[in-house]
């Protein structure tokens, strides 16, 4: 039976009128679904069913932590607590919850700023945020990028207008640069792919085309975000119809070029690894399902390596990674075992022990948010 160290984040409240707010109803529904999934996980026979329901539960929890960070931290509407204090509050949660809640906090903070003052500037790079713990920076930038992307993409009135889309993307890039700390701007860039794919899916190809003209270096980040979006896409959310495993096909199919395909796949693996970091059997199931596709390139190893580095950077602990590194495949399959060793274990260990210290020291962690050769990246860094 799969272990489950993650606790349900909802806490009982007294019944007030706000219990009937759609947002509260939505959260209650999510929690009910979470409990139902847990029940089904326990009742369903077979390892595969357990894996599928567990994966569903994890994804649901990550979504809840992100979207409802204000409820989780008990922040009243119009809250005035400085970001540093909010981050301190998040750090009282367990490591897993803190990662997703911090991303939600980045989003919440950016939205609040935008609502009150308009276009943000220097949001995560002013003197007051210099004291933010290093472990919070990646997730905060990811959350900020999501808010910036959504706020700007929703201003597009004519999706067919290349000019308008281009202007919005340029504005997004500029906003990311003006608000991100050195070494993290790429984290914010990557969010554009996630928001575009899941909220403005009709714009994916247009944005890709414009990005290639504006700055080819950003195309990889965009598609990495698209891959992450595919993992969280509603049609891959529910544990039916071979979800989430069929997302591999989507990641391959939606991109019109090789850079896009590799990044989308790496982004998908990245998200799946991070969301299910405590349950390596979920990653194993993915490999069993898509052994041939995933062995054709280094997208799998890149996604896993990057996710491990980001997890370590965001939590500062590697104890839970032991579970991943010591995981034994059941039932044993020699081909799969070789793939697991070559694409998960070795790259993961290398990432943690060799690449991460150099990349971190060179302040280039944001660059792992796209598919690329990590040895080459650290060779450049040196």
């Amino acid at each position: 039976m799969l272990s489950d160290p993650i606790k349900l984040t909802a806490t009982p409240r007294r019944l007030t009128f706000d219990a009937f707010y759609p947002r509260r109803i939505m959260r209650t529904s999510l929690n009910m679904i979470w409990l139902s999934a847990e029940a089904l996980r326990l009742l369903s026979p077979g390892r595969n069913s357990h894996v599928v329901w567990q994966e569903f539960k994890n994804k649901l929890q990550a979504f809840d932590l992100f979207e409802n960070v204000d409820s989780i931290l008990n922040l009243p509407a119009g809250d005035e607590t400085p970001l540093t204090k909010l981050v301190e509050k998040v750090r009282t949660l367990d490591h897993y919850s803190a990662v997703w809640a911090t991303e939600g906090l980045g989003h919440y903070y950016t939205e609040t700023y935008w609502e009150r003052f308009g276009t943000p500037k220097n949001l995560l790079r002013n003197a007051n945020t210099d004291v933010l713990p290093g472990t919070s920076l990646t997730a905060l930038h990811a959350g900020m990028g999501l808010s910036l992307a959504n706020r700007l993409l929703q201003t597009i009135k004519t999706p067919g207008s290349q000019n308008e889309v281009r202007r919005v993307i340029e504005k997004f890039i500029e906003c990311c640069r003006h608000n991100s700390r050195s070494g993290y701007v790429e984290v914010a860039y990557e969010a554009l792919g996630l928001v575009t794919r899941n909220l403005y899916s009709h714009l994916v190809q247009v944005v890709d085309r414009q990005l290639r003209e504006i700055d080819k270096n950003l195309v990889g980040y965009f598609w990495h975000g698209v891959g992450r979006a595919i993992y969280f896409a509603p049609t891959n959310f529910l544990p039916f119809n071979s979800s989430p495993w069929r997302a591999v096909e989507l990641a391959q199919r939606e991109a019109a070029h090789e850079i896009g395909r590799l990044n989308a796949l790496a982004g998908f693996v990245w998200a799946m690894t991070l969301v299910n970091i405590y349950q390596p059997e979920i990653l194993e199931t993915l490999l069993r399902r898509h052994q041939s596709e995933l062995s054709q390139n280094a997208a799998l190893s890149n996604g896993v390596s990057s996710a491990i580095m980001i997890w370590f950077d965001s939590t500062g602990v590697d104890a839970c990674l032991d579970r991943l590194f010591q995981h034994r495949l059941e039932p044993f399959d020699p081909d799969l075992s070789r793939l697991w060793t070559e694409q998960v274990l070795q790259p993961g260990r290398n990432a943690l022990q060799r690449f991460y210290p150099v990349i971190k020291k060179q302040n280039r962690l944001g660059e792992v948010f796209q598919y690329q050769s990590l040895p080459e990246l650290i060779a450049q860094a040196r």
Binding site: M26, D79, Y109, Q162, N163, S201, H202
Partner: protein
């Protein structure tokens, strides 16, 4: 109360609207479903980032720390959100403007879909025509209209044996005048009645009975002020200081020094008159404070010596119009064009004769005016009328909440509404017999535009003649150098 309305009304309506919006997009069905559910879930679940009154600790820090930037951005410090709203539109306006200019150069003189006479100027050497057509811009096909006008400006008056020398001197003068000073002196004050300064002020209730002369400033032409620039070398974007605003840079610096500059033009004595019942009927005349931001890049600057046989030089400038981020009642005209350019080019012939060619190309109007159809706005205005403004003050949270509901209702255009109604009721006889048509309104706009530019050029002639030598910078009057000409 406000939170209750926000959560129970605004949030669900917003979720519904965002879902419906996705239904109309062209996208593969799986992705559409993803977007619909993601939007729905996000709209219902996302935290409410509502503002509370006043500056808060949360946000005051980011708001005041703009000077703590670690890395230099392309924007210099000191730019407000309003500045950025304009600057965000510069590159788009420039792209469209260059596309319009290229189209003009390909199409002039006889390639227009529809070309027509615009104005006649009796006993003065001037000619013009108007046109309708379509232009393919990066953002799609744009129906355009415009006009071309050419007028005589000046000539040398010298014996025949000095013609060549005199024409070359004229060329040098025109080059300096057009590229360095024209934009500083293109607005004028008409003669004004003298007002005695020592006379005591008349009480306001006696003002209508007073025959005392009043200060009545009548301005004509175009008043330019420069606001923003982008440096060519560094790509840095900045703002001109207030002291620099009137002295428009030497246009020859655009290219070598500046990638572009943004100026604001005030067009004086410009009004829109709507006479639904003909020239003898009642008229609604709206005096427009016509202002528009314009962008000038090297694509619009003309500086050529000896460009063709018979020509000693061509000098001129042009600009693309930037659409104003704020929308008002009037939906068309300077500040509201979706894409538009103006080119003003002077040519000096070998005989020393100077003529001016002016080209204007702009999108054809989709709306002339926009009257709000917002029932919330109407209700509150009516209630305010009877409650002396108390309703808005007492119920401001409720009003704010209602205004957040994305009702998505377009306003009503009374001008085009009247045109459509008149033609519907008369089976198009209104258009055929009485010229009550959109096309006629478009032509009226072009005629107005012609007159405006004609007056500006004629007005500038007096200033041009007033200065004996435009190349003698030290001898130029201060109002020419500073650009504070009126």
């Amino acid at each position: 109360m406000r939170q209750l309305l926000d959560e129970m009304v605004v949030r669900p309506v917003d979720a519904f609207r965002s879902v419906v919006e996705m239904l109309s997009q062209q996208v593969e069905s799986g992705q559409r479903i993803d977007a619909i559910f993601s939007r729905f879930a996000h709209a219902l679940s996302s935290p409410s980032a509502r503002s509370s009154a006043g500056q808060t600790q949360l946000t005051s820090a980011p708001a005041k720390q703009s000077s703590m930037t670690n890395e230099p951005g392309n924007y210099s410090d000191g730019l407000s959100d309003e500045d950025r709203l304009i600057l965000d539109r510069v590159e788009g306006a420039l792209t469209d403007g260059i596309a319009l200019k290229d189209w003009w150069e390909r199409t002039y003189p006889d390639g227009f879909a529809s070309k027509f006479e615009l104005e006649r100027v009796f006993n003065r050497p001037a000619e013009s025509f108007g046109f309708f057509d379509q232009v393919l811009l990066p953002s799609g096909m744009l129906p355009v209209m415009g006009n071309f006008q050419q007028m005589f400006y000046d000539q040398t008056r010298t014996p025949a044996n000095l013609n060549r020398q005199s024409a070359e001197w004229m060329r040098d003068q025109i080059r300096e005048f057009v590229l360095h000073y024209f934009m500083r002196i293109s607005s004028f004050r008409q003669p004004e009645v003298y007002v005695e300064s020592g006379r005591p002020a008349v009480p306001y209730y006696l003002e209508p009975l007073s025959w005392c002369p009043q200060k009545n400033i009548l301005r004509q032409g175009f008043g330019f002020k420069q606001y923003y620039y982008k440096l060519r070398e560094s790509g840095r974007i900045g703002k001109f200081s207030e002291a620099e605003q009137s002295a428009i840079v030497d246009l020859r610096e655009i290219g070598p020094t500046y990638e572009w500059i943004v100026v604001k033009v005030r067009i004086f004595d410009f009004s829109f008159t709507f006479q639904p019942f003909g020239s003898n009927g009642p008229a609604l005349s709206v005096p427009l404070t016509e202002e528009s931001y314009l962008v000038l890049s090297r694509d619009f600057i003309l500086n050529r010596d000896n460009p063709a046989t018979g020509s000693l030089g061509r000098y001129g400038f042009g600009y693309a119009f930037i659409r104003d981020p704020a929308e008002g009642l009037i939906q068309y005209g300077p500040g509201q064009f979706r894409a538009a350019i103006e080119l003003i080019n002077f040519e000096v012939s070998k005989l020393g004769e100077v003529c001016v060619k002016m080209i204007f190309v702009a999108d054809r109007p989709e709306k002339i005016a926009n009257v709000s159809l917002n029932p919330v706005d109407w209700s509150f205005r009516l209630a305010d009328t009877f409650s002396f403004g108390m309703t808005s003050r007492l119920l401001s949270p409720v009003r704010d909440t209602f205004e957040r509901i994305p009702a998505n209702t377009d306003g009503f255009d009374p001008v085009y509404g009247f045109v459509s109604l008149a033609n519907t009721l008369s089976a198009n006889q209104a258009a055929q017999q009485l010229c009550i048509s959109r096309e006629q309104l478009d032509r009226d706009f072009l005629a107005q535009h012609f007159t405006q530019h004609y007056m500006t050029i004629v007005g500038s002639l007096l200033t041009w003649r007033q200065i004996p030598n435009w190349l003698d910078a030290a001898a130029l009057p201060e109002w020419v150098v500073t650009g504070r000409s009126s």
